[in-house]
């Protein structure tokens, strides 16, 4: 189902979704990030891309699994599976959209994660195609994506200067478009051609080239023990930016947080975790299978370009470029992958 949404009627559409929690990119503290759309919010979809991907709405930084307390000597557990309002996220870039199917795979293979899916099923992602790759480090087309791919999205909007071309993709997408009612107009015949022209132009814009993407997996396996990793990770400082900002990183930690006067009352909490931190794989004996930053850089790159391919026949990198732009010391996954493939 395809419609036209004039930009001035965007607000009208959002207002019809009153039982949804609507989030849209907002420019605050000189960064773009998702913020809740209130009555007086001026929705602005001229964003480059948000700092945090929409992954946070299904896999938040902090998730309480259950509360525990002692009731006459016996521990009583109260599971806290979330039951959120239906959530609609506007302005999702296709690279972030493509990240969600990777996370869906992880959180459903072999065991189904009830906390992730309680949020994920209520989440509707309204994508906005990239008319021109915004950052110096975009490489979505090199990893099988495109500036207007629909993977993982429920709706795809394309900006046609004064109006959006809106295409419903999934059930959830069709439902929110129907709710919009007369906020939408019929698609005229030249609209389709214009959309195709805009998409073609977006595809032709230069992106960060990746040498031979198909040879990467094999190269990583062959170069597993090469000193190249040591040299590339030389100035890594082991922070969490590259993984916390990544649309497909899903590693987490689980801890008990005591909330009462004694250890018997508290919460078991899941928080994001990061393979670059020293404690991530450290055994309680002190033995650490990945004790140095070179092994950890290799793990991050291998997980996305080798292990995920071996397990799920698809890469776990959508080419959004956040880990490159965000890295304090300029470690660049495209350069890493190129060097490993070339040597």
């Amino acid at each position: 189902m395809e419609k036209i949404l004039f930009k001035e009627k965007l607000r009208q559409w959002v207002d019809t979704l009153n039982d949804y929690e609507v989030l849209a990119p907002a420019f605050a503290d000189s960064v773009w990030d998702y913020a809740r759309v209130e009555a007086e919010t001026e929705i602005d979809l001229s964003h480059t891309n948000t700092v945090n991907p929409p992954k946070q709405f299904a896999f938040p930084q902090r998730e309480v699994f259950f509360r525990f307390e002692r009731v006459d000597g016996v521990p009583r557990l109260t599971p806290t599976v979330p039951d959120p309002k239906p959530t609609l996220v506007l302005g999702v870039r296709p690279c972030d959209g493509r990240g969600m199917p990777c996370n869906d795979t992880v959180f459903s293979k072999e065991y189904r994660d009830p906390y992730y899916w309680a949020r994920r099923e209520k989440l509707t992602l309204v994508g906005l195609a990239c008319n021109e790759p915004y950052a110096p480090n975009c490489f979505c087309q090199s990893v099988g994506g495109s500036p207007h791919s629909t993977e993982g999205l429920d709706v795809l909007m394309t900006d046609l200067v004064d109006r959006f071309h809106v295409r419903g993709i999934t059930e959830k997408g069709l439902e929110v478009i129907e709710r919009g009612g007369d906020a939408f107009d019929r698609v005229k015949d030249d609209d389709a051609a214009e959309v195709e022209k805009v998409h073609a132009a977006a595809r032709s814009r230069p992106q960060r080239p990746v040498a031979e993407m198909d040879a990467v997996a094999k190269a990583i396996r062959e170069q597993f023990d090469s000193p190249l990793w040591e040299e590339m990770a030389r100035h890594c400082i082991g922070c969490g930016i590259c993984t916390y900002l990544c649309p497909t990183c899903h590693c987490f930690d689980m801890n008990d947080e005591v909330t009462g006067p004694n250890a018997g009352t508290g919460e078991r909490v899941r928080t994001w975790d990061n393979c670059q931190f020293p404690e991530f794989t450290m055994h309680t004996s002190g033995h650490n299978p990945r004790g140095d930053l070179a092994a950890r850089l290799r793990q991050r790159v291998a997980h996305k370009f080798l292990y995920f391919v071996e397990n799920h026949a698809t890469r776990q990198c959508t080419g959004c470029g956040r880990c490159i732009s965000g890295c304090p010391v300029g470690i660049d996954i495209v350069a890493v992958v190129d060097r490993v493939t070339r040597s």
């Binding site: 100035h235 969490g240 931190f277 004996s285 002190g286």
Partner: protein, 344 residues
């Protein structure tokens, strides 16, 4: 003007004669317009060294990494390490010397003066270019930058792109150095020192808390501000359980009774303990290189916490951080005329 060729030839010479075992500097990055840190050991690599307004990193951090590897190495190479240092970076080296983290003879400082300008703030640059990609930023004359983006080049006055730390910088040339490239500059025509902290202090108590509650809430605890700080060199950070080190010798009691001063959760109360602990542990040690604020992915104004304490140290205790590494540090010294009125 800093003559980059002289810098490169001196670097090559130092490595050639083996005066330094390696040299830490900046080179062109692959990840965008910013220069990236590099460590070179062969004289031939000196060609790759650059010096331009995108050399943001505080390279003292890599002196700390070098020192840690040195301590772990079985047969350490005793020669010093060369480091390219701006005014702020050399003040960081000075504080590290003050804390005996390494000896003065362990480091050879190639001082570079920022002279009339300084380094850029990447966010101000991208805001100005509205999404167009900058490919190069160079020093251009006394008070401007030449920005080349998408084929055309524009001259931009320094004030519009300078990082806040440079606007408030009190001494743009490294006082502590073995060799200095560029002129000594102590007068700066930009903001007066601690301007941002003074401004933030004016807000009402509730307004201040509302701002900082929002910042602590947005923090995702990626620990980049700690990882990038040369002063945060503790092997185990007391508020970051991901750095707790277990060795075969660590007893079960030690591990079991380790205090968790704050939980790993990224909510307001725990992130507040993390950031406030870091700020107080940097009192009298932070030289305002601004890297914590620069690397923060959600752009929390962390410099404010540190410059507030630096201002108090300067105003109440007449203590200038990184000024002179022979002097006792702020919190291990006192004066009779320290403020006493706040104690009832």
């Amino acid at each position: 003007m800093v003559n980059v060729d002289e810098l490169r030839s001196l670097a090559a010479e130092l490595l050639e004669q083996g005066q330094v075992r390696s040299l830490i500097g900046y080179r062109r990055g692959t990840a965008g317009v910013l220069a990236e840190p590099c460590t070179i050991a062969a004289p031939g690599e000196a060609e790759t060294l650059v010096w331009d307004p995108t050399c943001l990193n505080n390279l003292a951090l890599f002196l700390v990494e070098e020192r840690k590897q040195q301590a772990a190495a079985s047969a350490p190479d005793k020669r010093p390490v060369g480091v390219v240092a701006k005014g702020c970076d050399s003040r960081a080296v000075s504080v590290l010397l003050q804390e005996n983290y390494f000896k003065r003879e362990d480091v050879f400082i190639l001082g570079v003066s920022c002279e009339g300008t300084g380094v850029i703030d990447p966010r101000k640059l991208s805001a100005r270019l509205k999404g167009r990609w900058p490919t190069r930023v160079e020093f251009a004359g006394e008070d401007g930058f030449k920005v080349s983006a998408g084929g055309d080049e524009t001259l931009v006055p320094a004030r519009e792109l300078l990082a806040d730390r440079c606007l408030e910088c009190r001494e743009a040339s490294p006082r502590l150095n073995d060799v200095l490239f560029g002129e000594v500059v102590t007068e700066r025509g930009f903001d007066e020192p601690f301007r941002a902290a003074k401004a933030a202090q004016e807000a009402t108590e509730d307004a201040r808390w509302a701002t900082w509650e929002r910042h602590f809430d947005r923090c995702v605890r990626c620990f980049a501000c700690r990882a990038v700080c040369p002063m945060c060199y503790c092997p185990e950070c007391v508020v970051d359980s991901t750095t707790f080190v277990n060795t075969p010798g660590t007893s079960a009691e030690e591990k079991a009774t380790r205090i968790r001063w704050c939980e790993r959760s990224a909510n307001v109360s725990e992130s507040a303990v993390y950031h406030l602990t870091r700020a107080i542990h940097l009192a009298g040690r932070c030289i305002d290189c601004g890297e914590c604020e620069r690397v923060c992915p959600v752009n929390i104004p962390l410099r404010l916490l540190n410059t507030k304490l630096e201002m108090e140290a300067f105003q109440q205790f007449e203590y200038e951080v990184g000024r002179d590494f022979e002097r006792p540090s702020l919190l291990s010294s006192f004066r009779d005329e320290d403020p006493n009125s706040f104690i009832r």
